[in-house]
Symmetry: C2
Subunit: 457 residues, 2 copies
Amino acid sequence: MANKEIPYKIYLEESEMPKYWYNLRADMINKPAPLLDPKTRKPMTAEDLAPVFCDELVKQELDDTTAYYEIPQEILDFYKMYRPAPLVRAYCLEKKLQTPAKIYYKYEGGNTSGSHKLNSAIAQAYYAKKQGLKGVTTETGAGQWGTALAMACAYLDLECKVYMVKVSYEQKPFRREVMRTYGASVTPSPSMETEVGKKILAEHPGTTGSLGCAISEAVEVATKTPGYRYVLGSVLNQVMLHQSVIGLEAKAAMDKYGVKPDIIIGCAGGGSNLGGLIAPFMGEKIKGNADYRFIAVEPATCPSFTRGKYAYDYCDTGMVCPLSKMYTLGSGFIPAGTHSGGLRYHGMNSTLSQLYDDGLMEAVSVPQTEVFAAAEEFARVEGILPAPESSHAIKVAIDEALKCKETGEEKTILFGLTGTGYFDMMAYEKFHDGKMVDYIPTEEELQKGFSYLPKMD
Amino acid sequence: MANKEIPYKIYLEESEMPKYWYNLRADMINKPAPLLDPKTRKPMTAEDLAPVFCDELVKQELDDTTAYYEIPQEILDFYKMYRPAPLVRAYCLEKKLQTPAKIYYKYEGGNTSGSHKLNSAIAQAYYAKKQGLKGVTTETGAGQWGTALAMACAYLDLECKVYMVKVSYEQKPFRREVMRTYGASVTPSPSMETEVGKKILAEHPGTTGSLGCAISEAVEVATKTPGYRYVLGSVLNQVMLHQSVIGLEAKAAMDKYGVKPDIIIGCAGGGSNLGGLIAPFMGEKIKGNADYRFIAVEPATCPSFTRGKYAYDYCDTGMVCPLSKMYTLGSGFIPAGTHSGGLRYHGMNSTLSQLYDDGLMEAVSVPQTEVFAAAEEFARVEGILPAPESSHAIKVAIDEALKCKETGEEKTILFGLTGTGYFDMMAYEKFHDGKMVDYIPTEEELQKGFSYLPKMD
């Protein structure tokens, strides 16, 4: 324990919590490309998006010039129920690895939703409520986002309708019950409640559903039900804006103790947690005020950054949502059944995609058996049982710490620990029983995914 | 929000964490009655207990004169990974109830084991390790204690053998996998690994086990395996000693802000969390330095305090453990299948029993449907999804706050929120579906339980 004065967990005072979200796009030299209308191929306007999203969220989505958004007091009050989240010095992991590196992680799993998703859920629910809406719809796969949204809606007395991929609905009844505890209605998707659901069920009787289908049902209900809008838990820039609270808190905690990270690591699925963690640090780097290495970690089964193309693509498999320019494997790419459901998205947030394309960020992909081995090693010494998604960051943080051991460098590593693994024990069981396999898509499979990319002439 | 300067969550600094456990027995005027040998009916000596428990823990168990035990540095370091636990001001619940009462809760569920059990698990594992032992055995029902012990043993590199009641082993595979993640071996009980297990299986083929049987197996293995001892997660006074860290932290946090509780409430199964929470406050009350109301909350299905007898009884259904003088329903009393497994114990910690008999503490029993209604109301406004056990305390805290609403009194209420309900969603599901029933034992059932009490002549 080299640095005696740094506690195991750094908690900011309530008065030190961020009062603004940071919109990294405002400080970027090359801005992310705009969303395009899938039919006209013209940039989406606020008017185009208003039937789907609340007005304030549309504004945030399209705004790449305002650097700071004041966090409304009601949201700050909600944040105070589970934030500030601790910045943890991983003394025990350092000791176990016998590394000279100093390892920190920002732990976002200490709330009932079990992940960082709550940071954006409360913001989106708040703006819906403020607009006088009655309720919101969304889709959920594994259930973390749906749980977070249900919690936020219960708090604000807003209706919450969740379309849950049918296979998850059946396999993860506990997640479903948590949402019901928070008063959400949870419908297995595809359902007979929507036109798109009926159509899919007619074409594919007995299907267990997909995230793309659940999105389509949620969007249909939101646009057809008076007083409803649709909300989304990742990928969008508004979500990354809200998630900047992660990075702002982490930076404030480090600044308080005079610590500067050399390497910042996060897992990347849709990109919002990684984007939120790195935002204030990246802002400094772009302005030339500091230098950091940023590493996005993605699953080998779904390597958007490391093996994808930077192109305009559909955000959803149903091809109804706007086109976004991003690193993508193609909206028709179906990743193998990995146990990190939160990272099984074919594309990547457009802001992160631009940063990666500009060489401001690195990316690596890792196979899941190595991820679970790292997760277990971490759990045994640091106590916290990590979510498989978050464990991608753990794996690479350990790798970097071991490199320091070889070279003797005392680097400071910061990574994002976004969630807990309580609801992923079936995956851990497979790992313990030696039944977990790695799957790396072939070139042919990738090419097939790319064939879904829209022609942009 | 009457008291603006008090944050939503009070975290002590690491330097403010308790460095001593408090042994309430030292300050009691009427000491709890000693453990008796079940055969000779003579007080158990350190020698008698040494084959079962580690030496240091035996000392703590028998010691009713030393008021403070210094917490070893290694245990303090482990505590720093998940402590200090927050003292939360329930602003949102107060607002919802529109009560003038000020409600606080000490939240012990924010660690991976999901409960306060970790506070004693690390202590017991530490003393086992220090004595040069190879491993420990224990039993677990729902799995919270087993998980906590597995985590502590993984940290100290100690072997951990858990006998898990077979029905839980099969119904709660996730709990089992968390323990395996922490390197514990988990055996469904009854098993063919022990003499007692073989005997029970021969007599009752196909039995799904019981806690009493699992205890007997764990004790047999501990006493027959060189370098092993048995450890227990509640009921014993050593456990209450370790759990005093809950009350000491809560009191330090309240003192820091000049807050004094009027009423202190905790759920009571074996009694260790309640005992730990109230210990420092009760010490003040006994010395005449302050006055508090203490309320133990137990399930209506298993009302040891409110309908039990104060008598010497067996601690286990197998009748092999020492006799303890306690409020008890009789070791043969089988409580109805409530969803608060952690509170389904026929007896009560001997120290708490003496305090209750001396009129220093009150007790109430509540039916489970009311407990789940309170749990859901709490979850929706305070964010945290509570364990059914902990929700007994929530129920009575809400009742007391509503009484304040009627009378206009601004009382300060403190309750213990000992754990999360992540692994209890099947119970919540029953509640949501209106399938949960209340069961209150009849006088006849109670008399049958009392018939198991040993004759003490």
